[in-house]
Amino acid sequence: MKKSKFNIVGKPVIRQDGLEKVTGQAKFADDINYPNQLYGVMVRVPVAHAKIRSIDYSAIENHPALTTICDANDIPGAKKVGPIKQDQPIFCYQKIVTPGDVVAMLVGESEEELLRLRELVNVEYEPLPVLTDPRKALEPDAPLIHPELGSNLVIHHPLRKGDVEKGFAESDYILEQTYTTPFIEHAYIEPEAVIAIPREGNKGVHIVGSIQNPYTTRKVVAAVLGWPLAKVRIQQAELGGSFGGKDDIMNILSARAAVAALKTGRPVKIRYRREESIQESYKRHAYYMHYKVGFTREGKIKAMKIDIIADGGAYSSMTPFVTWRTVVQATGPYEIENVWTDVRGVYTNNPYAGAMRGFGSPQPIFAQESIMDEIAVQLGMTPDEIRRINGFRSGSITATGQKLEKHDVNVLTVLETAVRETDFARRWRENQQQTKKRLDLAALEEAAANPGPFILHKEDFLEPEEVLRKGIGLAVSFRGTSLGAEGVDAVAAYLSLQQDGSAYLLSGLAENGQGMRTTYSIIAAEVLGLRPEDIYYLDLDTGYVGDSGPTVASRATLMGGGATKVAAETLRQRLEKVLRRHWNLPETTNFVFADRTVYPENQPDRKIAFAELCNLAYWEGVNLATIGWYSGPKVHWDESVGQGPAYFTYVYGCQVAEVTVNLSTGEVYVERVVAVHDPGTVINLLGAQGQVYGGVTQGAGYGLWEEISVDQGFIRELNFDQYLIPTSKDIGEIVPIFVEGEERYGAWGAKSLGEPTLELTAAAIANAVRNATGRRFHHLPLNLEEILLGRKLYPTSKRGSV
C-alpha cells in the first residue's frame, strides 16, 4: 500500500470549515452588510425574443424609494462580456434573447419597494420569432439570436480518425440510436448574492460575494468599469454550493453591483430569490446525440459515428469548452480505430448553458454507455464482457490520437473491482431472464386521443407480486484531468510559517464547498510534519496571490495541491538548511518531519520541536513565507480534425447501480451504488468519500428526476417544489471504493475525483432499468412518465396543478 509512506495523507480528516457551517456561524455573502448599503433589483421583460424599442422610467423616476437606475448607459467600459465570445450584455440594450435577460437595475434602500416599482417600468419592444429547438437552429430560415454573428452556430468541433466507412464495412452489425438529455439546474443551496463597496481615493472597488472564480469575476468587472485589474478586489465569501454555477452569473451580478456602487458612492447588494436565480442563471447543456456504431460478432467495435447538437441557449458562455470536452470523450474509454464525430453548440432563445459539474461528459456518457449495453445484449454478452473487449489498456490510442501512457490506465481495473464487488455478471444475467409483463401504456395511448385508452382492461392488471423488478447496470468512463487544451493551467499557493510553528495558507483557487482548504492543509502538514489544524487557511482575495485561473474541471487537488506541495517543500528546505547549520551537519543529511518535530534521518533521539525550529529560523532572518507555483505540461490540439494529446493525464471510474423498478407506477428506486474510482492518490479519505456520496446523489438526480423544461423559452421549474433533486430518502447505500493508480503529476499523484463521481450514475441507472424492464430508455430523466409512457408530460397551466 502506497498510503503507508504517509502520516496524514489518505486518512480521514474532518474538514476545517465544517463546524462553523453546520452550526450556522459561517458568513455567507448575504450575511455581510455594510452601513448605508443599497439594494439592486432587476427589471425584466416577459418575452423570449424581442427588439427593445425604448425603456420608459417616467412612472418611477421621482419616487422617493429610488436612489438611482442603472442600465447600459451607465457602463463606462465593456457593455457585453463572456469568457470566450463577448456576446452577453450586462444590461440588455438592443435585444432580449431569453426571458432571464435584464434591461435595468433599480437601486434603493428598500428591496420590497423596488420590487413593486419594477412593475412600473415600461419597456416597449417588438417581439421576434422564438427559436427553442436547437435542432432547427442551423436551418436557413431560423431566427438569428445574435444577427451580427451571421449564424446561430456557437462552435463546431469535428473529430476525424481513420476511415469510418471502411470500419462500418468491416462490421457484422450496425446499431444506430438517438439519445437526449435535458437542461439541468445546479441547485446550489445558496442563491446568488454579492455586495460591492466603493472605496475612497484610488482604492477602487471591493466586491464580496458567492463567487466561484474570483479572478474571472475581476476580469469581467474591470472590463465593464474600464479599469485596471488591480483596482478591483474580489473577495470570496463562504460559498454555499456552486457545482460550476457561480461563474458567469456572478461575474455579471458583480459588475452590476460595482456599476451601481460607483454611481451612488454607496455599497450595493444584490441577492436573488430562488425563482430569480433559476430564471437568470445558466444551466447544464441539453444534448441531442445520434450514435452509429459498427461492431463484429466477436464484440470488437470497428467504427463510431457521432453527431451531437448542444443547446447553448441565448449566450455562448462556456459552450465552446464544454463541447470540446465532449468531442474528446464522446467515444468513451474504448479503443476505436475509426471515429467521425461532430459536436455543434448552437444559440437558441432558451436559458443559456454554461459550466456545470461534469462539463460536457454526463451527456455523452449516458448515450455511449447505453449503446454499449445494447451491443452486449445483441451479441448475448454481459455488459462487462463487451467493455473488456474494447476498453483502454496501457498504450491504447484514444479517439483524438493520444497514446495513454506514463500512468496507470485503470479502466479495466476499476471495472473488475466493481464487477467483483457486486457479483455483477451473474445478477445481470438472472435479471435478464425475468418474465416481463409490463404495462404498455404508450401503445394504449396511441390508439386514440379519446379517454378510452386511459381506462384499463382486465388483462392489463398486475398482481402485487409481479410489480417490482430488480435491475443492475454499470457504466465506465475516462476523464481528462484539469483544463487540457482549453487554456493556461497554473496555480499559486502562498504559505507563511510563523515564529511559533503555526502557518497561514492560501491558494489562488477557491473553496467552493469541495473541501479544498482541508486538502491543501493536509498536503502542507504532510511535508512539514505538522497537523492539518496547525495550518490556518486565509480568505481568498484577488489582491493576495497570483491569478490561478478558475476553480473548475476538478483541478483543485491536482493543480493547487501541486502548488501547495511546492511551497511546503521550499520552506522545508529552508528549515533544513537552518538545522544543518545549527547542528553542524553535512549537506547530505536528510531529515524527518513528523509529529511537529524534526530530526536527522536515523537519529530520532536528536529531536527539535517544529515550533523551536521556526523560532530559530525567524531569529536568523530566514524568509519563512513563499509562493509555490505549479503549472501543467503543455498539451496541444489540432482543431480542424480534433486530434492531439488533449489532456496531460486521465482518471478512470466505474459505477454499478442496483435498482428496483415498480412496473405499475414507473418508480425507480436506487437500492445501492458501488462507485469505484481511480483519482490517483487520495489525500483526504473523508473528503473523497464525500465527493462520491454527493456526486452519486447528484448523478441519480440527473438520471431520475431533474429537468429544466422550457416552454417557448420560459422555464417551468422555477423552484424546488417543481425542480426535484433527490432527498436522503430517495437513494440507498452508496459504496465508495478507491483504486489509487500511479501518476507523476500533482501532489504524490493526486488527480481528480469531483466530476467523475457525478458523470456515471445516470448512465448506470439507465442500464439497470434496462436490465429490470427489458426496455431501453433514451431520454433523461427516467421519471414516472418516461418509464410508463416513454415520454414526458408537462403541466399546461402554472404552478399548483397536479
Partner: protein, 287 residues
C-alpha cells in the same frame, strides 16, 4: 417576498376568535405557516389580500389530542409530528398516522397542522383521504357559535370550504371505528421525501370470510378535491373479493375519476396508474 403584515398573538381561543371577527376578510389564522409563507413568496392570489396574521399555533384549546365519546378529538393546530407520535392514533387510526408520517419533511411536520392541511382544500392534502374514510367531523367556531359537520360536507371545491372569514376549525373528531375494519393508505409522489402527492388512496375494508361486508374508499390528488366514492362502495358491499371483481372495481374507480376530473395534462399517466395501484391495494387488504 413576505409583505409587511400585522402579526397578532392571542392568548386563548376566545381572543383569537375576537381578532378574526374584528379584522374579517383581511385577517387569516396562521399555525405552522407551511402554506401561507411559501404562498407569500410566490405572491399567491390566495394570500394577496391578507393584512393581519393571527397566530394560533400555541392556543391550548386547539393543540391537544383527547379521547372522548369513544373516539378521538384532535385539535386543529395539532402538528403532524404530534399525530405521528400519538399512541392512540397509531393504534386506532393508523392510516392517519401513516399519511401524517409521509407529509413533507421532519421540519415541515414539526410545523404543519392537521386543520391547516385541509382548510385550504388543496387536492393533494394528504390527511384528507384517511380522514374521509374515518368519517371525520370538524368543529367550526366563531364568536357567533359552534357547528359540527362531516369533513366531506365541509370541503366544497378546490381551495374552497364552508369556513367563513371569522371562523376557525378548532377540532377534528374521529368517531369509533366498528370492529373488523382494516385498511391501507397509499401515496405516490415523484420522490420519497418532501413529495407533493400525485395519487393518494385510503381504503378501509371489513371482510366476512371472502365477502366484502363494508368498504370505504377515498382518493386525493386525482380528483379536484379529496373525496369518497359512495357508488363504488355501495356496489362492492356483499360482493366476493375475487380478483376479477376487484379489477372491475378498479376500472370503475378510473371511470369515476375521469368523470369527476375530466382530462388533464397528467391523465395519460395518472388514470391507468390509479387503477393499478387501487387494484393492488385491494388485493393486499382483502387477502
Amino acid at each position: 417576498m413576505i409583505p409587511e403584515i400585522e402579526y397578532l398573538r392571542p392568548g386563548n381561543l376566545q381572543e383569537a376568535l375576537q381578532m378574526l371577527s374584528e379584522y374579517g376578510e383581511t385577517a387569516r389564522p396562521i399555525a405552522g405557516g407551511t402554506d401561507i409563507l411559501p404562498g407569500f413568496h410566490i405572491n399567491s392570489r390566495r394570500f394577496r389580500d391578507i393584512k393581519t396574521l393571527v397566530d394560533i399555533s400555541n392556543l391550548p384549546e386547539i393543540t391537544a389530542i383527547r379521547e372522548a365519546n369513544g373516539g378521538v378529538y384532535i385539535g386543529g393546530a395539532v402538528t403532524f409530528t404530534d399525530i405521528v407520535k400519538h399512541p392512540l392514533i397509531r393504534e386506532k387510526y393508523p392510516m392517519l398516522a401513516d399519511a401524517a408520517a409521509q407529509i413533507g419533511s421532519v421540519q415541515i411536520r414539526n410545523r404543519a397542522t392537521l386543520a391547516g392541511n385541509f382548510v385550504n382544500n388543496a387536492p393533494c392534502a394528504d390527511s384528507v383521504p384517511p380522514l374521509l374514510v374515518y368519517d371525520a367531523r370538524v368543529t367550526v367556531r366563531s364568536l357567533r357559535g359552534e357547528r359540527h359537520q362531516p369533513l366531506g360536507e365541509f370541503l366544497l371545491k378546490p381551495y374552497r370550504t364552508q369556513l367563513q372569514p371569522d371562523e376557525m376549525v378548532t377540532e377534528v373528531f374521529l368517531p369509533p371505528l366498528p370492529a373488523g375494519f382494516r385498511g391501507e393508505f397509499y401515496k405516490l409522489g415523484r420522490r420519497r421525501g418532501v413529495a407533493i402527492s400525485r395519487i393518494t388512496l385510503a381504503v378501509l375494508v371489513k371482510m366476512d370470510q371472502r365477502v366484502i361486508e363494508d368498504i370505504r374508499i377515498a382518493s386525493g390528488a386525482v380528483t379536484p378535491i379529496g373525496a369518497r366514492f359512495p357508488e363504488l362502495e355501495a356496489q362492492a358491499r356483499g360482493k366476493t373479493a375475487e380478483a376479477d371483481f376487484l379489477k372491475e372495481l378498479a376500472i370503475q374507480l378510473g371511470e369515476q375519476i375521469l368523470q369527476r376530473t375530466g382530462l388533464r395534462w397528467s391523465s395519460a399517466y395518472k388514470l391507468p396508474v390509479v387503477q393499478q395501484v387501487f387494484y393492488q391495494l385491494l388485493r393486499r387488504i382483502c387477502q
